[in-house]
Symmetry: C2
Subunit: 252 residues, 2 copies
DNA sequence: ACAAAAGTATATGTTGAACAAATAGCGAAT
DNA sequence: ATTCGCTATTTGTTCAACATATACTTTTGT
């Protein structure tokens, strides 16, 4: 009786359902999702609500509506992977496509060392608090990575740690771009469950980044972030050789 | 009679109207936009259509709907400035806020040299075609920058040039991120109308970037892109000293 | 006089039905 | 065999009514 009292479970979100189905690959690019009236029936909801939710998927480039024909899933390249909602879905429902995950990681390899370097120059005390709190969380949830809930918590702290560094650049573009990290971090935590890479070592690398930022040592922060990412790439089974930026320069 | 034959002007897009009004500053963060029924009346359109358009503004974080009260414009920091539609509105209706423009330019100063460098490593012949075509357009529309239409065309070519370089990285994240360029490039063209900075010099700097990419000289591409951005920052009256990344390294 | 509670006004949220418009596929006529 | 036109299906638009949430006002009790 507690369950039914709390809340009428919001409302069955069609966007959520379809996102899950699409990201899990049950509907692939070129496929058509069920028509409006079927979705109405399936979720006992009216057409306006269905259309409102479908609009969201259209706005982020995931589906394309063809008047009088149906709603088609668009190519992966068309998806707005910079949209926070999209990255959230990606991290929650796994990669729709390993290729995108690889490209996101390549991007991270490109930029995160530079972001860490900038953070080391500009981080305020408040930024350090956020970074440290996330790091504490990482340490807390390190050992008991038994149940799924614990791993999710660890994953969230990992995301918070990297996001806090992006925000420490004090640039709104970098700050908003930090959402792109989420999918690969969640994937990492999911996979490292099997891959059993050394978590102690990973934690130590994160600590190095944090300390370098605190001590205002940009170059060390750059290198430390590179080390973290090398570990990430390794755990995900992707060679960091794909990195493009940050090469061709001799670090002092 | 030609005007009415062509097309029933699509449909008055409420999203478009409100975006113009909000980006122009007629509604500022904290303000409430007209209520649904007023918009219905003003545009002779039904409520469903109005609500559909308002949903788009909600999805990109520009407005927030408060049940039973109204639709409030959110703080600039909440706006999804990485969304292509948002950047398009920003470029079309000028900056809602000079601060955001400054931060976008700071971001460009951070990344574009590295993007050019990567493009120099990975650009295919097809990428070079796109870059060259945009460059040709830049040269064409250089002299006759008289009417507004001509300037718009020049601006589009400028955008196309930089976007082509981002795409030449062959990374989907960089490619989608290229939308962020649009606002500052349009602003530049608008302002340089008054500022009368030397267009010949700017063109030459763009040529240097293109040539460096063609010749597969990453380091030269990096420096050439920096030079282009220095010119841009100068024309916009922003000192490039705000740049964060790409500093602290000695270029070979 | 002040404060808490109840009630009212206003705007958004939800529902349902009916009609309009666009697209694909089929079939007939040239 | 090709083109034209018809029909079926699905999305797009419109309208009207009711439900719900929030802010403001009035009332009531101390």
């Amino acid at each position: 009786m507690t369950s039914s009292l709390r809340k009428p479970p919001a409302r069955a979100s069609i966007a959520e359902y379809l996102a899950e189905a699409i990201f899990a690959g049950r509907y692939q690019p070129g496929d058509f999702v069920p028509r409006e009236l079927d979705l109405c029936e399936r979720f006992a909801i009216n057409r306006s609500a269905v259309r409102s939710d479908l609009r969201q998927l259209v706005d982020v480039g995931i589906i394309e509506r063809i008047s009088g024909h149906g709603s088609k899933v668009r190519e992966y390249a068309e998806w707005h992977i910079l949209d926070p909602q999209v990255t959230e879905w990606m991290s929650r429902y796994a990669a729709p496509n390993p290729e995108i995950q690889r490209e996101i990681l390549a991007f991270r390899l490109d930029v995160e060392p530079y972001v860490a370097m900038t953070a080391a120059r500009r981080a305020t005390a408040r930024d350090l608090v956020a970074i440290e709190e996330a790091f504490e969380g990482l340490g807390q949830n390190l050992r008991n990575a038994s149940c799924a809930e614990e791993r999710r918590l660890h994953s969230e702290c990992d995301v918070a740690f990297h996001v806090a560094i992006f925000k420490a650049t004090h640039n709104i573009v970098w700050a908003q771009l930090s959402h792109i990290l989420r999918p690969s971090i969640h994937l990492l935590v999911t996979m490292s469950n099997e891959n059993a890479s050394d978590p102690e070592e990973s934690l130590e690398r994160h600590r190095q980044v944090m300390e370098s930022i605190r001590m205002r040592r940009p170059k060390e922060a750059f290198l430390a972030a590179q080390a973290v990412l090398a570990g990430t790439a390794d755990a995900l089974g992707l060679e960091p050789g794909a990195s493009s930026l940050g090469r061709g320069f001799e670090l002092p």
